[in-house]
């Protein structure tokens, strides 16, 4: 049961992240250097789409898993999201009031995964 669910998640992740890597590698090699607005806006959304796709894959994985995996993952997801939002909000206010260096928004998702990694081992029950 869980094997099929896990395999689906891995395939979906590989597809979405593969697309993400390809687009970014092409950008690094200058494939989109001549692009002008509004094309640049559309391109930015194209780059963001696989990230949203991967989040969808994660939520589908949770939905298709059994009740324990779903409950523990949901708990971890909520904790990681809450902590990430708190940290990003705090940093935002530090930027406004304390002239802290700018934190790019594209780093919020990697930050979320980092927080997930740090918090997940401590969330071991569904109570």
């Amino acid at each position: 049961m869980s094997t099929t669910v896990d395999q689906k998640y891995k395939i979906r992740t590989a597809l979405f992240m593969g697309g993400y890597v390809l687009v970014n590698v092409a950008a690094i090699f200058g494939a989109f250097d001549d692009m002008k607005p509004p094309g640049t806006w559309a391109f930015a959304l194209v780059v963001a789409a696989p990230v949203a796709g991967h989040l969808w894959a994660l939520l589908r994985w949770m939905q298709d898993s059994d009740e324990f995996v779903r409950a523990i993952s949901a708990k971890r997801f909520i904790a990681a999201t809450g902590i990430t939002m708190a940290l990003v909000s705090a940093w935002g206010f530090m930027e406004v009031y304390a002239k802290a260096p700018h934190f790019p928004l594209v780093m919020v998702l990697p930050g979320f995964w980092a927080v997930w990694g740090f918090t997940a081992p401590f969330i071991r029950t569904t109570h």
């Binding site: 049961m1 869980s2 059994d66 009740e67 995996v69 409950a71 523990i72 569904t126």
Partner: protein, 67 residues
């Protein structure tokens, strides 16, 4: 929630993986039930009850029932 899953499983020589397959959940889920890290849904409790052929109350302790 206190339960007799591990004992009942041992009586039948079933692994966690095997019991998981029988009731349609992962090995991790069975482990979480046995170590009291997860309370089963009513649906899962009934599936487990059917598999062992014994009422839910004889597998999972009702914490609200005075002993």
């Amino acid at each position: 929630m206190k339960n007799r899953l591990k004992v009942l499983r041992a009586e039948r020589n079933w692994t966690q993986e095997e019991l998981g397959k029988r009731v349609g959940v992962s090995r991790q889920a069975i482990n979480a039930l046995e170590t009291e890290k997860h309370d089963p849904s009513l649906d899962l409790a009934y599936r487990i009850s059917k598999e062992f052929g014994t009422p839910v109350e004889t597998i999972f302790t009702n914490p609200y029932q005075p002993s």
